[in-house]
Symmetry: C2
Subunit: 252 residues, 2 copies
Amino acid sequence: MILITNDDGYQAKGIGVAVELAKRLDDRVVVMAPDGPRSGQSSALSVNNPIVFHPIQQEDGVEIYACSGTPVDCVKLAFSGVVPNWERPRMVISGINHGSNSSINVIYSGTMGAAIEGCLYGVPAVGLSICNHDLQADFDYVKEAFAKILEDVYFNALPSGICLNVNAPKDGPIKGIRVCRQASGQWSEEFMASPTPRGYDCYWLTGKFSNVETDATDTDEYALQHGFISVNPVHADMTCYDAIPLLTQRLS
Amino acid sequence: MILITNDDGYQAKGIGVAVELAKRLDDRVVVMAPDGPRSGQSSALSVNNPIVFHPIQQEDGVEIYACSGTPVDCVKLAFSGVVPNWERPRMVISGINHGSNSSINVIYSGTMGAAIEGCLYGVPAVGLSICNHDLQADFDYVKEAFAKILEDVYFNALPSGICLNVNAPKDGPIKGIRVCRQASGQWSEEFMASPTPRGYDCYWLTGKFSNVETDATDTDEYALQHGFISVNPVHADMTCYDAIPLLTQRLS
């Protein structure tokens, strides 16, 4: 069985492509995905309100459930066994996201929050994204490369504690696949002030992303800018082991 | 200037203690914190709705603003310059959280989402938590040790790209400070099903946390169980560098 979720909602075009690719690998695909957009939800949980889910479709080996929670809620709820005849998935796929999750955006990504959650359950997990926010985006140009990555993970699993953050350039043709590190990036001009009838402004999140490592050739941003699919191995353990000796000296 | 936020809201007792400790170090403290509870918000952003903020207090060198967004929204909004006479903070403090953020809970923590955000802006950042959810928790037993950590970070900064996840045991006396790695843990029985008048169940997040590394002595869980404050260095770069060669061999 393959479990699929996303952060754009179960009706998004991209998750349909993920289902199509998963069906090539397994005869059972379970989708537990948000009932609407949940972009920027990171690994957020519904702590203060309950969640619900409803069956949407059950045919051709594909079971689709819509959930009122966050992407991570979806993964947790599925693993809790609410799906009839639940079995441990062989792989978790999150996406295909409409929009980039490269560089530091992995931190804010609901797509990657769900992939990390699969990883925490000990299941090989892949977050898939294309650098195109268009709801009607064409996914044909990434299918072959994404299928290759999913096939490898499905049959060979992943090292323990690691999931993959996979991003594709906005347009094809795809030149290949590059395994790379997360680029250092930064956002600027992050809010647009907008007047309200109450006499104060409200603030909409916006902003410009810039890669601050423009000379580096081993980053996901470099790969994407040069026509390659970027594969960034992400670990669930956030400890910076290198810093432990110095801090021990300072604080203990 | 020291910037303070949290995920329990500006009125929580713990953030008041953080303000008290910050005032010992700097003559200007700016609080931009959520206007209510935001536990489990991780690094979530308000993507689909605008946020607002309002001044609450401006006296004795402490300026307090309440924001309708997530903890990360609070940090981003403060750095965007909406606070009068904004200056780059010398340190970001998130907390003191009412509840543990040790082990894998760093992933879901709004407290730590805000600390990581400070780190992404290049400012030394510390998330502070105590293993006690009680809203009326006593913080006296942690003040001395937390003050020592904040003083060190304020004067000596932190290595680039790293922030601190600091947790204290539920009760004192504190035996000391241990710099340690994040324990592997897992949650079980994560939802309670509850009937609704609509004929289907809703699901409340709950669950039991267990440390799966009960023999390890170098983890945050071990330190906390033995009366020590745990200091876990967290890096914003989520790349698992060790996995790059293997995956390159498999996928490129």
